[in-house]
Amino acid sequence: MADMIPVPERMKMSQRPMPEQDPKKRTRNFDEVPLGYKKGDAIYEAQRCLQCDPPPCVGGCPAEIHIPQFIRKIVEEDFASAYLEILKTNNLPAMCGRVCPQEEQCQRVCVYNKMGKPITIGRLERFVSDWARKQDTKEKLPEIKKKRKLVAVVGSGPAGLTCAADLAKMGYDVTIFEALHKPGGVLTYGIPEFRLPKRIVESEVDKIKELGVKVVTDFVVGLTKGVDELGEEFDAIFLANGAGAPQFMHIPGENLNDVYSANEFLTRSNLMKAYKFPEFDTPIKVGKKVVVIGAGNVAMDAARTALRLGAKEVRVVYRRTKEEAPARVEEIAHAEEEGIVFDFLTLPVRILGDEKGNVTGMECIKMQLGEPDESGRRKPLPIEGSNFIMQVDMVVNAIGTTANPIVARSATSVQTNKRGYFMVDEKTRATSREGIFAGGDITRGSATVISAIGDGKKAARAIDSYLSSGGSLRKKTPT
């Protein structure tokens, strides 16, 4: 077992870099890019941790992971205990370790920032959960006393999975209803294999099923059955259907054949495995010169997928600058390393095509930054007369998604705001209708995995206190 190194020595150690697949090689496969810490890397990095008391990092984690405690267990080489420590508060560590923006959360408030580089908490979280997945032994689940109350969860993304798992651990009988044929939400259909391998999503979902959670796929709430009908069968409901409806720019040429929404492009590739066509039946097209509109995580995923599917050139256009780009710093860096070209301060105004519907180019206008707007960001303004035509034959639109109204339409007296998101109490995630709670992207618009997880946890607590105090939807008729 490694000993604790004296603090002054520890502070001299440098941050362990993440081993990664070579950029030249990786653009030709869908394998994971960051390879993960080896045991030695993890122990070394864990030894740097100062075991602060109180630990500021925990305050930066929406899942409230006991960070110094699990890191301590890594130093002790007791990975099983490290894993159990994480599982106490986070049901999806292998995913969080890979896709959470730790640089804006736990790692941003790590004390090391004052003197050097923070502890790489996310990489350690990933190391521990990957180690656990490779062990044959199953964690022994504590005996749970069953409660005879039924909870329905709508949607199997991170918010739904978390809420379901927490409630199941408390003994509730939980059923998740999922519209697609596979659970996982964006983790399954949106985020590509090279960033989050699907076997990892499947294994984390399986763990949640082992807690007794039932997952009903191919069930569109609002069409197969409405929320109101579920309310007659369940004591409480958690709505976590995400914000999956793609938005378009409403510019000419947007419905040409080779214009995709990022959702369609990524769903074909990830959920339907079109990158393995024709071994899998769903087709996907990729142009020689592909342009992706937008600079969020979704845009980076689409651009990097296009490259791997064989595009010769992939560009990203964004109307603001790199500083404003919403994607994780790491993902922009990965995209740049892979040769993706960024055109900042550029706004598409028209997509050009021929009479068969093929894309032949995209007209853009150059932008400049004006005065800051309400959000504090400087507003991009078009530069008169700077229009130019970009030579492309495929366009992927990744400007964002919004609420899909199918669930809300079937939920009498559950209030939504004017953008279609469920209105909730921040702390309890309670909606305007007693017994119905909501969380994740459908309450705030597209955000992060960890904020969805945080909502799922809050809702589980609130649902527990609602049901424990005798509440039940089944007793009420909507008013």
Binding site: A179, L180, H181, Y189, T217, D218, F219, V220, L223, T224, K225, G244, A245, P246, F248, H250, E254, N255, L256, N257, D258, Y260, S261, N263, E264, T267, R268, M272, K273, F277, P278, E279, F280, D281, T282, P283, I284, K285, E355, K356, G357, N404, I406
Partner: protein, 280 residues
């Protein structure tokens, strides 16, 4: 798991399946569809719900073998289970008592227009139904359509049955003969629906088509199915599948249907070959 309970080849390459789906059967209304997958590697394909039995919990689908997935589906047998089946998707047809209405089905579109025709008649309309296909063998569901309508007109492209001509010609005659047709439903291949829209335009009659756009999820999540209607982008799966045919941008719609032509061939040909080898 949804199980195939009966399978009939009702015309060459046109198959009718009854599948257990109690939840879908309970809620479905005419005009809605399902999405299915035959197996884990399969594609998600949309098919109209041609009939249903709420009590016994089944739905019926009728499809033509046109590519890999429909071929695979046609090779499944009674007792087999589908990998995935979801629905009912899309908006139901707006059924009410309008007076005199016309429903038109071409090819497998006959199966799609059947539940709508039946519901319109049950709602008290006088329903003139027109069905057509390339040739006699491909006229499907004639008896069901006769029962479901007030008057049934049949036509074949080659004249091998009843009369020679396209459904659009029959539609034109009906509109000329009838004083007061309130609405026309036309379901069939895109070129036929487009031609029917041209026929009905001069008559100032409300024209409804059901669009067979290429879909993935069928719930409004991907936008694969988008179409321009009256200058606005609509998603066929959640805003349709029925639209005012006079407002549809047909050239764009037909271009988008051909999006994967090359890939479809790539996936179908090896399949045909290996199936042929296995089955002599």
């Amino acid at each position: 798991m949804p199980k195939i309970i009966t399978k009939r080849e009702i015309a060459p390459n046109i198959i009718s399946l009854k599948v257990t789906a109690p939840l879908i059967a309970k809620r479905v209304k005419p005009g809605q569809f399902i999405i299915l997958m035959t197996d884990e590697r399969g594609e998600r394909i949309p098919l109209t719900i041609a009939d249903y039995d709420r009590e016994n919990g089944w739905i019926r689908i009728v499809f033509q073998v046109v590519g890999k997935t429909t071929a695979q589906l046609s090779q499944m047998n009674e007792g087999d289970e589908l990998f995935s089946l979801v629905g009912p998707l899309g908006n139901p047809s707006k059924i009410s008592n309008y007076g005199t209405v016309v429903t038109v089905g071409g090819g497998t579109g006959i199966a799609c227009v059947y539940p709508i025709t039946r519901a319109l008649k049950e709602a008290g309309n006088r329903v003139i139904a027109i069905i057509g296909a390339k040739t006699k063998d491909l006229i499907i569901m004639e008896e069901e359509m006769r029962k479901a309508s007030s008057e049934l007109l049949i036509t074949t492209d080659d004249g091998s049955y009843v009369r020679k001509g396209f459904v659009t010609e029959v539609l034109d005659e009906v509109l000329r003969r009838e004083e007061d047709v309130k609405k026309v439903w036309v379901i069939g291949p895109a070129p036929m629906m487009k031609a029917a829209c041209e026929v009905t335009k001069p008559y100032q009659v409300e024209m409804i088509v059901s669009l067979n756009a290429i879909m993935v999820d069928g719930t409004g999540m991907c936008g694969s199915c988008r179409v321009t209607v009256g200058g606005e982008t609509k998603f066929v799966c959640v805003d349709g599948p029925e639209f005012n045919g006079h407002l549809v941008d047909w050239p764009e719609f037909m271009n988008r249907l051909a999006r994967y032509g090359r890939q479809e061939k790539l996936s179908f040909e090896p399949h045909e070959k290996s199936y042929g080898e296995k089955n002599g």
